[in-house]
Amino acid sequence: MAHAASIEHDEHHSAPSGFFRRWVCSTNHKDIGTMYLVFSLTMFFIGGSLAMTIRAELFEPGMQLVQPYFFNELTTMHGLVMIFGAIMPAFVGLANWMLPMMVGAPDMALPRMNNWSFWILPFAFALLLSTFFMAGGAPAGGWTMYPPLVLQGGDSIAFLIFSIHLMGISSIMGAINIIATVLNMRAPGMDLLKMPIFVWSWLITAFLLIAVMPVLAGAVTMLLTDKYFGTSFFNAAGGGDPVMYQHVFWFFGHPEVYIMILPAFGIISEIIPTFSRKPLFGYKAMVYALACIAFLSFTVWAHHMFTVGMPLGGELFFMYATMLIAIPTGVKVFNWVTTMWRGSLSFETPMLFAIAFVILFTIGGFSGVMLALVPADFQYQDTYFVVAHFHYVLVTGAAFAIMGAVYYWIPKWSGNMYSETLGKVHFWSSVISVNVLFFPQHFLGLAGMPRRIPDYNVAFANFNMISSIGGFWFGASQLLFIGMIVHCVFFSKKRATSEVWETAHGLEWTLPSPAPHHSFTVPPLIDDSKLAHGDVTH
């Protein structure tokens, strides 16, 4: 943590000295952003080590390392830690760092709440991870926590539910803060349709968070009362309905998917124009597409449950609504490609991650369209085909966008340039290994391998071994990411200019690198030609 103190130097009305006052009592959007990002990276490695254990057990057929029940604990906790601990806090960290700078504000609108929404998280995850050491072990019913299975768990369930409540409170407070900042703290002249797409993506995501986190809280609270207070919300024997849980859960869960990808869309929409030296194509269409995806995300939840036996009309409605999402998503992909068209491209590490994002996220989108076809989904559902699909959109989608964002903005944060060599090695190692890891999982699923199993028929041995090798390789590659960050922050001799990237547009690039402790104490003058999207007439 000490490094950040050295980042900030004593340049600007300096950060408070002393660890406790600087970090624990922090109300500064940059320090809180840093803490979110460090927390997220920590969780990425914890969730990653769970994944490594999973891939080690699946390396070859037969049970070699763990008991089946512990395997279920691993898959459950891997999902929870990665979604709620790694991806979501990373985006909130990026929002904290960048949003005030991008809209020309001095800080977030609600700095004390910002502190609280971060500091809840370490406690939430301490509770959640402590269940590994409890009698009965960690939750093992899958991250989706379907009853009745999840209720068979031990007292870890109470810890799980409480930690989810805490994460939800944290997310809702973070979302309120972002909405308040974007709507109230913009510099004069920063109209809504002049904001960078990353700000737009987070504004929309924040509304999604506020809309659905209470739904998740409601669902898990009903689990809690079913387990401990004798209610029967989801207990068929008591007049309840286990399928009702799935409806409520996925009413949260599907917008949640977009909560994890819309900010990624925003990041990619910043990076591609910079390294194409050309304005983002179709700015307004990009904003409307984001809003459209967010709206549609509330109408598709039951495509996660095509096999629960819904009536024909329900199956058809959710199939059509799901397919509709492909249209605004397609618009985004086409616009990114067209932004590159007739640009002047260079391939620094952020651009490499952005290009890999567009290609690999699109592959995840393709399998998404296939999964939307109900009769085909009857074969795909709950197989490794689905595992491959959502890892393409979450790892090569969300996680790659986050990594690209770190490379893109770390010179602004630290004042130093990262090592381009280290960045490129990290990129190529990651992008190759992640495909070795996840692409064969499509084949496994189509051949008939269900997800969430610790052992399998020998016919699945070859691709599982390849996938595991890719997994270990991808996991090891992320050590390079840590290496890049440590090198950039502490050892890099190369100072970053305030613009960092030639032709990088947007207010954040008008501030010095490293950015001062308080961003814009005086509202900046908005120069339309320097706006992030470059062309305010559209």
Binding site: M63, P242, T307, V308, L324, R342, G343, R452
Partner: protein, 305 residues
């Protein structure tokens, strides 16, 4: 079988050879095979259509992918700064944006149409000749024969759980190589049961499916679908199997510690053979009942204290 490449490992090759021999002998066997890349075409007309829909979706995606990725590739090659490319400034083109909104709509309609007609067929369980009740338990399946050709079947039902040799081999550090678990040269590790579900070919079979404890999912890929077995809910599905053979599947919904160890095996036989089998089962059940009734009667005749 078309997905099989020459075995990458010696054992894979042996398995593939076994499959070929089995195919030559006329009986369809439908295990997954090593290096299998694609979905099975299945053994029911519906499964074949599901496969066709899957391939339609796949080729549509490939087509779009080729266009999009080619455009990206060209852009990355032609418009590199290192080749002296100078960026243009345009950022808008209404006609283009309308085109790439409308074309995907048309493509999606082309996909939704066959998906809808197929789904309508899949949910129609009427006019079935055999009803099987499937119940998922932790961690085994129960099959009950409910009615056949309009007549109620009584007392034919049994539990079906993981075969003994697989169960022994799958214990942590059992020391048993999963490749050694086989039956007639077929590597059926974790895909074999003690009692198979016997079904007739060329017969519309209606499955009613429920769960006894937690949610399970009944899935035999060769039949072309899976459906969840949910406590308090009775789901329906149907299949008409064209080819006699042994078809293997697994529970597809996480159901606890032994989720991976409750396979499903369907043995499809000719209707005549099935009729004989069912009659024999029913006789055995009736005999058994008669015997038990005879045993129980003296006790039941005694006056209650």
């Amino acid at each position: 079988m078309r997905y099989m490449k020459s075995g990458g490992t010696g054992r894979g090759a042996t398995g593939a050879l076994g499959m070929l021999l089995a195919l030559a002998s006329g009986a369809a066997m439908a295990n997954p095979v090593p290096w299998q890349l694609n979905m099975t075409k299945g053994v029911t007309p519906i499964a074949q259509q599901v496969y066709d829909l899957h391939m339609l979706g796949f080729w549509v995606c490939v087509g779009i992918g080729v266009v999009v990725f080619a455009a990206m590739g060209i852009a990355m090659f032609r418009f590199r700064r290192s080749r002296g490319a100078v960026a243009e400034r345009w950022s808008h083109n209404t006609r283009l944006e309308v085109v790439w909104t409308v074309i995907p709509v048309l493509i999606l309609i082309a996909l939704a149409w066959p998906a809808t007609t197929l789904l309508v067929k899949e949910v129609d369980t009427s006019n079935s000749a055999l009803t099987i009740k499937v119940t998922g338990y932790q961690w085994k399946w129960r099959y009950d024969y409910v009615d056949y050709k309009g007549n109620a079947v009584s007392k034919v039902g049994f539990m079906s759980k993981l075969a003994f040799d697989s169960n022994k081999a799958r214990q942590l550090d059992s020391g048993i190589d999963p490749w050694t678990v086989s039956d007639n040269g077929e590597h059926d590790y974790l895909l074999n049961v003690d009692h198979m579900l016997v079904l007739p070919t060329h017969t519309k079979i209606r499955f009613v499916i429920t769960g006894g404890d937690v949610i399970h999912s009944w899935w035999v890929p060769e039949l072309g679908w899976k459906i969840d077995a949910i406590p308090g809910v009775v789901n329906e599905a149907w299949a008409t199997i064209d080819t006699a053979g042994t078809y293997r599947g697994q529970c597809a919904e996480l159901c606890g510690q032994d989720h991976a160890f409750m396979p499903i095996v369907v043995k499809a036989v000719a209707p005549a053979q099935f009729g004989q089998w069912l009659a024999a089962q029913q006789d055995a059940a009736n005999l058994d009942r008669a015997a038990r009734t005879a045993q129980a009667e003296p006790a039941a005749a005694q006056p209650r204290g």
